[in-house]
C-alpha cells in the first residue's frame, strides 16, 4: 500500500463514520510516514508497520470521537459558545433571584406584613397554603438552580479545556435530583390545591375579583 492510498483510505473511512477533525488525525499519520521515509523505509513497509487501516478506523469509532449530533458541533464554535455561556450565567442569576423572591414572599405572608400596598390580599387561614407553596417553590427553584449551575460549569470547563461542549454532561449529588423531582410535584399539587381552596373560600372561581387583587 502506498502512502497516498493509506491516507486516502483512512480519510474516507473516518469521514464515513462522522469522526470530527479528520484532518487533525491525518496529520499524525502523515507525520509518521514522513519521519519513516526520512529514515529510508519504503512506503509499503511503513504502511504495514502502521497496521491495518480498518482496525485503525474502528479504533477511532470505538473511542467515540464521533460527533454525536450536528447541532452540538455548532456549540463548539467560539462565536456561538461564548455568547451562549454568557446568557446561561445571566439566567443563573435570574434563577437565584427567583429563589430569593419566592422565599421572601413566604416570609411576607407568614408574618402578615402589610408594608407593601401592592401585595395581593390573602385571607387568614388560606394564606398557609400559599406560604407552603412559596417555600416549596423556592426549594424547587433552588434545586433547579443547582442543576443549572452544574451544567453551566461543566460546559464552561469543557469549553476551556477542549473548545467543545457536550450538553448534559455534568454531575451533581443524587439528593438534588431527588429534591428537584419531589419539590416540583409538590409545588404543582399546592398550586392546584391553592386555587381550589381559594375558590372555595371566596365562593367564586375567579377569586381574585372577590379579593380585589387587580383594583
Amino acid at each position: 500500500m502506498t502512502k497516498q492510498h493509506f491516507i486516502d483510505t483512512l480519510t474516507q473511512g473516518l469521514k464515513k463514520h462522522n469522526i470530527h477533525d479528520v484532518d487533525d488525525i491525518i496529520t499524525d499519520y502523515e507525520d509518521y510516514f514522513n519521519q519513516q521515509l526520512a529514515l529510508g523505509k519504503t512506503e509499503s513497509d511503513i504502511a504495514i508497520k502502521l497496521g491495518d487501516v480498518k482496525t485503525i478506523i474502528s479504533d477511532y469509532v470505538k473511542s467515540g470521537s464521533k460527533g454525536r449530533a450536528k447541532w452540538f458541533d455548532l456549540v463548539t464554535v467560539g462565536f456561538i459558545a461564548i455568547p451562549m455561556l454568557i446568557i446561561l450565567y445571566g439566567l443563573l442569576i435570574v434563577f437565584g433571584l427567583t429563589v430569593l423572591a419566592s422565599w421572601s414572599l413566604a416570609i411576607y405572608y407568614l408574618f402578615q406584613l402589610d408594608t407593601f400596598a401592592f401585595m395581593p390580599y390573602i385571607p387568614f387561614g388560606i394564606h398557609f397554603v400559599y406560604i407552603l407553596l412559596f417555600l416549596v417553590f423556592s426549594l424547587f427553584f433552588f434545586t433547579l438552580t443547582v442543576r443549572f449551575y452544574a451544567t453551566t460549569k461543566s460546559m464552561t470547563m469543557q469549553y476551556v479545556v477542549k473548545q467543545a461542549i457536550r450538553i448534559g454532561d455534568y454531575h451533581i449529588k443524587p439528593i438534588y435530583i431527588k429534591l428537584f423531582n419531589i419539590s416540583s410535584i409538590i409545588s404543582l399539587i399546592l398550586f392546584i390545591l391553592g386555587y381550589f381552596l381559594s375558590a372555595l373560600v371566596a365562593k367564586d372561581f375567579q377569586y381574585w375579583h372577590v379579593w380585589e387583587w387587580f383594583q
Binding site: 499524525d28 519521519q35 502502521l50
Partner: protein, 105 residues
Amino acid sequence: MNIQYKKGILDLLVLAMLKKKDQYGYDISEMISLKIEISPGTIYPILRKMKDDGFVTTYLSEVSGGPARKYYRITNLGLTHFNKLKSEWDELKLITSYFLEENND
C-alpha cells in the same frame, strides 16, 4: 505480551511521557511501539481519545526545513488522571507481588 495488558497500560505510559515534557506525536508512537510491540497506528487513536477527554492538548510547532510538527501537552485534568492511574497501578503491583511471592503464609 497479552494485548489486554498493553491496552490497559497505554494511557498511563503516554501520560507519564507527557508529564516529563511535551512530546512530538511521532516520538510518542515510536517510543511506545518499540518498547511494547504494538503497531504505532493504534497509538494515535488513544492520543485522540485522551484529547477528547481533555487530558492532553495539541499544538503545532514550526521546525526549520520541514512541515510543522504536532506536539502533545498534558493538561491539569490529565495530571489528575495520571495520578489516579498511577495509584491504581501501584495497587495492582502490590496485589500481584503478594500473590506471586513464593514464601508467604
